[in-house]
Amino acid sequence: MLDRFFYREKGLFLQSLHPLSALTYIAVLLGLVLMFNHPLYLLGLLAVTVTAIKAVDGIDAWKSFLKVSMGAAFVIIIVNAITVRAGETIIWHGPYIPVFGRLNVSMEAVCYGADMGLRLLDIMSIFCLYNFTIHPDRVLDLLSRFSFKSALVLSLAARMFPAMVSRLDSIREVQTARGVDFNTGTLKEKMGKYALLIKILLLTSLEDSMETAEAMYARAFGSGRRSHYVRDAWRPRDSICLAASLLALGAAIYGWAKGLGTFSFYPRLDCLIDGLTELVLLFAVIFLLSFPLILSWGWHNCPFIKSKI
């Protein structure tokens, strides 16, 4: 059921990027979404993200993300509307509630809630993109250069995880063959039966961990500097994407320091477009962030570009 949310290798352009440049691109998108609160900027970033999700063939899964985000955005709008007192344009005078005071709903608070709902959708979409673009193993591979022990713990656990789920099934079969019926009994009895499953799983896995440790000893783990080999090639496409992402980040930080891309909701809503520079920065950032998408289009449609990158 859940497998349509996972990474699937489809040989697409964005999936072929080096994990470093793909991670940088996604991190820059995320950073910008957290930096800016201007609705137009958030919409622009959403457009880029959704186009990228389309490029990695994840639109079906994204629709489920959209539903979840809508629900959460609704909660955010409600929480903002009932707790914020800073707005001036009151659209509903509510009753007096102990703790919270008088329940007045202002238009500014509703707009702020909607804007934050948009930010939430942005963030969810970026993670949807992440899940479809980079294989977890490649990230761990990258991480193991800097912190090999933590990366080793994580890759061991990630490797054991599917094995454990299938082992859980076989332990259940063994128990069933011995006459344990998992569907009958009171809740307490049922929980007891399931607990036994987890206990057997833990016991056998702990025994196995000793063997893993011995195998690591046998391979001279921790005896000196760790050797590693490079599996991912760095290609021109990676340099271009990395440079575009970093330039976008630089432009965004420059604009942010100048106060662009921020929208003040209280006490009254700001003007949506506050001068030309705000729009110029928006287009510059969106253009730079679209670079990988343009390359993706070229890679799939134009043999010349494909041969060069």
């Binding site: 809630g113 990630a158 007891g192 690591m216």
Partner: protein, 234 residues
């Protein structure tokens, strides 16, 4: 020396948050705008420092394999119970591991379970917060054991129950700093009220897990710990 440094870095990860809160309350920061970004950076920094602490620690292959196994069991438990809203054995497993193997192992177990289960359930902006919250659950169990070695079964049941709420509140911090303005205690209470039933399910699940299987699990882990030490001495 390296061991001391690793300990310092690990505890610095926890200290960074109260220090930052104190600075904020005293009004000596110039952060007025993006608290969502700031909070994410701080939580990433805290988790990063703790991992760095673990990295510098002279941990043996046995400890590494053990933590990986416990983390994977926690992750498998979370996925196995994914159908029930917020009832999962992960918090319980992190607490049990921290209680037996100490704060560092407890932290690593909790945070590994969070990260690895999200490989399969989907990574999100909540991942570092979950890593921190579950890691803290494991660490705090280790600390509780240091200070109250005879806490007893019911004491731990209450501890597990409380962690259901603490976990929810830590995750609420994320949505609160990122999506709500102004940041005051009223709005925080409103966010917590919205998640109250989820947290209660989580707390009740934790308490039930500990009540029913806690002592058996702890006995099993203790036996294994003894076995590990025995093997070292050979």
């Amino acid at each position: 020396m390296k061991k001391l440094l690793s300990k310092i870095l690990f505890w610095l990860g926890f200290a960074i948050i109260p220090v930052f809160l104190a600075v904020t309350i005293s009004g000596k920061t110039s952060i007025t705008r993006e608290w969502g970004l700031t909070a994410s950076i701080i939580i990433l920094g805290a988790v990063g420092l703790m991992y760095l602490g673990f990295e510098l620690d002279a941990s043996s292959p046995r400890e590494i394999a053990l933590i990986a196994v416990l983390g994977a069991v926690g992750a498998a438990g979370r996925v196995a119970f994914a159908a029930l809203p917020n009832v999962q054995p992960t918090t319980f497993i992190a607490i049990a591991s921290g209680y037996v193997f100490g704060p560092t192992a407890g932290f690593m177990t909790g945070s590994t379970a969070a990260l690895v289960s999200n490989f399969f359930l989907g990574q999100g902006p909540w991942t570092p917060w979950q890593m921190f919250a579950w890691g803290l659950a494991g660490s705090s169990a280790g600390i509780v054991k240091c200070f109250f070695p005879h806490i007893g079964r019911w004491g731990m049941v209450v501890f597990c129950f409380l962690w259901g709420y603490f976990f929810g509140w830590i995750l609420n911090l994320w949505s609160w700093t990122t999506f709500v303005k102004p940041l005051n205690w009223q709005s925080f209470i409103a966010v917590c009220a919205a998640s109250f039933w989820f947290d209660t399910f989580h707390a009740a699940g934790n308490a039930a897990f500990y009540l029913l299987f806690g002592p058996g699990f702890i006995k099993l882990l203790n036996r294994f710990k003894l076995k590990m030490i025995q093997k070292y001495e050979e």
